[in-house]
Structures are given as C-alpha cells and as structure tokens.
Symmetry: C2
Subunit: 447 residues, 2 copies
C-alpha cells in the first residue's frame, strides 16, 4: 500500500510472507538464512530503534534449523514455518526473558509459553526475540519502560506509539515480517499507524489471552502486526487457532466515515490524507456517520473506568509493596486507578453491554466504519503535549482517542498504512461488525 | 415441628396449606372465608405486630371470589388456588402500593407485577397485602423502615429480624399461611428463625428477580416463608415456575454440623438447643465440620464487598439527590458502601467464584451442612448490642453471621423451627448442595 520506505529500513521491508514461504518451499532460501537476516537487521537497526529488548541468536537459529529440517523431511506446518516472528514482551515465552516492560520483572523467566506463542511454535514460526512494551502495556506512547523508549523508524526522535511499540517498529523497519502485539485501548493499531505498519485487533475473545500479562480483562486483545493485510491474516489465523475463511461480499461495501471530531480533535492534514485514501479505496459510497457523537464521550469514560479498576486489581500488591519500581507516569495512572469505586465499575460493565448492543444495531446499516487510526502523527519522544489546530492537547489522550471505543465494544479493527503527512506515516482504521474478522481481513487484503 | 404457639397467634397457626386446599375442594370452605379470616386476623394482630404495611380488603376479596368462581366451574390451578398469601413490600404488585420500606417511594404504585407475583396470580393465590421490609431490604433487624419496626409474635418488644420482617411475623402469628420474602444475606432465614417459621432461600437464580427491588445482584434471592416445609415447598414450586420433584435418598444422610464458632459467637443455650434438635433429626451420624473455619472470615468480607458496591450502584442517585429521605442507619451503610473500590469488587467476584468451587467440593462429602440459623434469640427493638457469653456483640453482625455465606455461595438453605430458648424461637439452618433445592425440601419435609 505504501511504497515509500522509512529512514531506518532493513531486510524484510517490502517482502511478503507468502512470497518468502514460497521461496522456502522452492529450496532457494532457508529459514536459517531468513533468521540470520533478521538477526543482522536487528543488530544494525536496534541500537537506534530499541525495538527488541531481548534477542538470543542461538535460540532463534535452533528454531530455524528445526524448521529447515522439517522442510527437508517434507513436513509442512503451514505458511509460517521458518518465518521469523517477534513477540511483544508482555507475552510469556519460555525461552526468552519476559519483563512486561517493568523493573518488577527484570530477568523474569516464565515457566511456560503463552497459548498464542505455543500456537506459533506449532506452526513452525521462528521466534527471534521480544519487543519493547510500554511498562505493563499501560501507556500508548511506547516511551516508558524498563528498557526506555522505542524509536520510530521514520524519525528516531519520535515515538513509535504504544504499547506494542517494539513490535510495530520491528515490522515497519523490516527487522521481522511479523510480530505479535496486544491492544487494550489501541496498543496494536496506534504504533502500527504511527510506524506505517498494518495492525489488527481481532474481535474480543477471538485470540486466547492465556499467558499474556493482563492489563484490563474486559478490554485486552492479542493480534498481529505485519507489513500488509495478507501477512496479518496469516498470523491471525495461527494465533486464533483456526482456518480464516470468508467469502467477500459482491455488493458495493457500505462504509461509514466517522464524522471528523466525533472522538476528539484531528490534525487537519491527517484528516485530509486519511479521508482521501478512504475515498480512493471505498469510492464515493463513503457516507458520513454522525450517530456516534452522542456516545463518544460516554464510551471513553466507560473504558477508563473498566481499565482503571481492572488494572489496579492486577497491580495492587506491587503498588503496596514496591511502588518505586514503577515508571513514575505508570505509577501515577495506577494511583488514579485505585480511586474507581465499585459501583462505578458495575455501571461501566452495564454501559459496556449497552454499547455493544448499540454497535450491533449500527452495523446493520454499515459493513465498515472508518476513521484515522490516530488523529496526529508521531510526536517527539517524551513530549506530552501537541498542538492540533488552535489547541494544545494531551498526546496520550490524542493517540488513544480514535481506537479505544473498539476495545470497549469488542469490534474487530485494523489500522492500514494510508500514506504520509509531513514525512510521517498515518493510518486508516477500518472497524468491522463483531465476529466478522475473517471477512474484514479478506476484504481489506483485496484493496 | 413446634406445637407451642406464639403469644400473638391467629387463624392460620397450625393450619397446613395442603389441608386447607383439600377443604376448599371438598366444598366445606371458600376462599372468601379464608381471606376474610386472614383480614380479620390482620385487623386484630397487626396494630401490635406491624407485619402488614398495606392491606386492601376489597382487592383481596375480589381475588378470593375469583378463586371460588373457578372452583365452582371445576377449574383447578393447583394447591395455592384460593389461599391467602402475603408479599414483602420490596416486591412489585400492581394492585398494592409498594414502598420498598422507604420514604423515597411513599405511595409508589408499580406499573406491573413482579414475575414471582405474576406466577402467584396464575396459581390462583389471593394476595392479601404487603409486608414490612427493612428499608430497601438493607438491614437484618426489621426495625428500620418507612413504617417503623415489625414486632415479634412471641414478644412484641422484640425484633422479628429482617429484612423480610413482616412476612415472617405474618406467617408465625397465623395472619396468613404463606408469604414471599427476599434474602440477600439471610433476610428470609433470619426472621423465620427469630419468629418460629420456616424460611427457604433457594439456590441462586432459581427464582426470577424481575420486579423485585434489587439490593445486591450477586446475592439476591426470592423465597417462601411458611409454617411448615411442605407448605414452603408448594409456594417455592409456584414462584420457581416448575414442578418440584425429587426422589429422597435411601442411604443415611451425611450431615455436617458446622463447628460452633466458625461463623462467630453463638449463645450457649441456642447452640445446645439447635444441636440437640439436629441430633434428634439426623441421628448420631451428625459429624463435626471444621473445614469452613479458614474460609469464614474471607467469605464474610467478600459478601460485604459485593453487597456494598452493588447496593450503592442501586442508590447512587438517591444518595446524591435526597439522602435525608433514608433512615439514618441505612444511609450510614450506604455511605460506607460508596467507598468500595472497583479493584476490590473485581477481587470479590473472583473470590465468590472460588468459594462456589470450594463448596461444590465440600458437598461431595456431605448431603447437608447444619448450624443455628441465627446464633441468638430476638433482641429488643432498636437494640444494637447483645451480650453473648462474656462479650457484647453487634446485633446486626450477629444475626447475619450464620446465613450470609450461603448467599455468597448461592447454596439452597432453609431455616427450620427448632424449639425455644428463654421463650423465644430458634432456628436450625440446613444447607444443601447447589441446585438440590427439590431434594432439600423433600427430605426436610419428611423429618
């Protein structure tokens, strides 16, 4: 979709997994060569981008040799066999240290793989290392973690977005073709948009969360980051544990452009660029959707209430026993999180159920809703305010503003690269009806 | 089970619904006569006992005439046809004012019947009026409501217990043979025990709550109060909306006496009396159950957290807009309830699920657990401390202490009259395995 490469670009930029899989089977390429290419690219780019926080060449190459041995025996575990994949550092891996981005877990070695990682291994993928996560995935900028800030492949002074910061940077810079991320308020789609990758948040519950460090059990999702939709679809199928199948629709798609401003201020150039791409892809049938405006603020409040209460449940003992080990910004969020009242949480649960019903009704009239994934381009690392139009707005609120409603309502949502603004990537978000993940991936792959 | 009558006793004392139903069908008795007997008894005793807060003779007699007309036509809706029944004032009735015991709802007329009331009407029962509830059912003493305190038929200076205060007093004094109550921490079983009636809290979810004013959605139950188990079973079948069927067991029952003290202090005479009755009913096979002691305090805390958060959810607007309309004691509970944190509520939900699992395990070894329903006898109206052994304890905590764990775990539990101590009734509580309501009722009816 985008032919422009980032400033920091390596081996896998512009490569498709399908093509690599064919070459692996044709015999002209081995998994060891691919894995070595990944390791070499990481060695070259990671000092600048800080995408990977843990790499172990012998461990990775051993997996690659195993994949090659299977090829030699004629055994084929599917399209990911022998393909290098990165895993976000909040997902348990038995062979790589997993810190959840936090000093609380420095050097932590999980006793078992997360279920999605187990499925990757069963598919023959080569896990080359762990990617930087915002501490405990509790932040959308990707610049607060045990390992510092991840850096944007298009401008290393800028954030990647987060919390799946390293996964997006690793894919966008061509260190690996695929990476796993997690998404509680936009944590896959935000860095994918800001780094120029594809990021897919499946329907709630579509990919198992066992072995993924929880942030907010009502809102957490695992999903793929890739350089194109077809690749994202391959990775999604593996972690969902099922064949991805869907007939695409014949009639013209009914696509609703979420009225600009519904979810907060949008940079005018980002708006123009994303809207132009949407029109190019979906044609003049693109309709303006205005019905969401009355819900938007309530959805944001509801998500915040659920997320805060659930996050504090996860971290109460750490906040009590060793609060100093948290990054100050994450700690500040947790201090606020403690304040949510039980009755407010109960109401937020009830509101979430109502919003899900509202969305089911809305999707009777639309096949997809679209909007910018993020209303701004990547800001400077550590910056917390950004000028949009006439006002200074909070960077964290801004980057989350257009994605979080789809965590609350559980709808599948994908961020697609939609060109650049001022030399930085922007993303178009496409939201589908609940459970329509396969159709969404298939129809977006055809664009 | 008890042949001694209370000081304030009327027409229905010692009468069984089954016998009345037979007489109605034999033609020697009409529903109008029975209903008039109920109305006369209420007129005589209610000025002392304050069990009924709303009675409407024409409304009641119209229902009775309808039942008699059906008998005359040979139509039989089942054993409750023509039988006077009382309904707790936190359960919606379209033809009687329903105040939920609160000044917030003075003169309130619901737009429809609660589902359990609808089922009563379909069974041909005659609803003679509404019985006093502790304000919003949020208190176990039955002496704080828009209508003041209900009074114990055995000694009008004493509480009935609550919150189904009027229902228990109405049945125990023979104003009606049957009444509906609700039970969130013991609110059916406590007044049943303190007034000398049978009170049954079904398994969680066994009777629908539509149209019952909520106190705590994780803990609320509707159930029958009656003067014997067979009658309770008839009423339970009607409100559960299904035939109650169960083969009783042939092997000796495995009955566990919950070790005295597990759930807090017990009056020594109450303990002796209830234990003696348990031995008489269940024989020497009665075993001491000690395993609950480590769970008891945690179960109490968990219930309190769930109940508080859920109760505040129900009353937040009223607490904001018109706190002065609450009884001061109820308001004080709500002020505390507001403080429960979201993360604590989440943990309480998880703990509740664990306790349910623990109970399923325990009931692999026991058919029933037994204990005193309430560890003391009825205290003076408005008293808030009572001497048990060497210590002064809080009356409200004491009366709830032995019942609330079975709301938390959802198990069916019945309070059976077990004689008197110092001239006041005591109850034996029998707790069954989850979903074993029918068997519990059948086996207890045979004692």
């Amino acid at each position: 979709m985008s032919l422009v490469k980032p400033v920091h670009a390596g081996y896998f930029c512009g490569q498709s997994v399908t093509a690599l899989a064919e070459r692996l089977r044709a015999g002209g390429l081995t998994s060891v060569e691919l894995t070595q290419a990944a390791l070499d690219t990481i060695a070259r780019l990671n000092p600048t981008l800080n995408a990977f926080v843990e790499v172990d060449a012998p461990v990775a190459l051993a997996q690659a040799r195993k994949a090659d041995a299977l090829f030699a025996q004629g055994q084929d575990l599917g399209p990911l066999q022998g393909i290098p994949v990165a895993v976000k550092d909040n997902i348990d891996t038995i062979d790589y240290i997993t810190t959840y981005g936090s000093a609380h877990f420095q050097g932590h070695r999980p006793g078992r793989d997360a279920l999605c990682v187990q499925r990757l291994r069963e598919a023959g993928a080569v896990i080359v290392g762990k990617t930087l996560t915002h501490e405990f995935a509790y932040g959308p900028t990707g610049d607060r973690s045990l390992h510092g800030a991840a850096r944007n492949p298009w401008d290393e002074r800028c954030i990647t977005g987060g919390s799946s910061a390293g996964s997006a940077a690793a894919v966008a810079s061509g260190m690996v073709p695929l990476a796993l991320g997690t998404d509680t308020g936009g944590s896959i789609r935000i860095p994918a948009a800001l780094c120029g990758a594809v990021g897919f948040k499946p329907s709630f519950g579509g990919v198992p969360l066992e072995g993924v460090f929880p942030l907010s059990s009502s809102l957490d999702h695992v999903g793929p980051i890739a350089s194109n939709v077809a690749d994202a679809r391959l990775l999604y199928g593996v972690i969902a544990g099922r064949a991805v199948v869907a007939a695409h629709r014949v009639r013209p798609l009914r696509v609703g452009w979420i009225s600009t401003g519904t979810f907060g201020p949008v940079d005018a150039e980002v708006d123009r660029q994303v809207r132009q791409v949407a029109r190019q892809w979906f044609g003049d049938g693109l309709q303006e959707v205005v019905e969401l405006a009355p819900l938007a603020a309530a959805m944001k409040d509801t998500l915040l209430t659920l997320q805060r209460a659930e996050a504090y449940d996860v971290h109460a003992e750490r906040m009590h026993e060793a609060p100093q080990l948290f990054d100050p910004e994450v700690r500040e969020r947790l201090v606020l999180s403690q304040e949510v009242r039980g009755w407010q949480y109960i109401r937020a649960q009830a509101a979430q159920a109502l919003f899900k019903t509202e969305m089911a009704r809305l999707f009777e009239r639309y096949d997809y809703l679209v909007s910018p994934s993020v209303p701004i381009t990547a800001t400077a690392v550590d910056a917390r305010e950004v000028r949009v139009g006439e006002q200074d707005i909070d960077v964290r609120a801004a980057v989350l503003s257009h994605t979080s409603a789809w965590n609350l309502t559980g709808l599948p949502a994908i961020s697609l690269p939609a060109g650049q603004v001022r030399g930085l990537p922007v993303g178009l978000q496409v939201i589908g009806a609940i459970g329509e993940d396969d159709r969404l991936l298939q129809e977006m792959a055809r664009l």
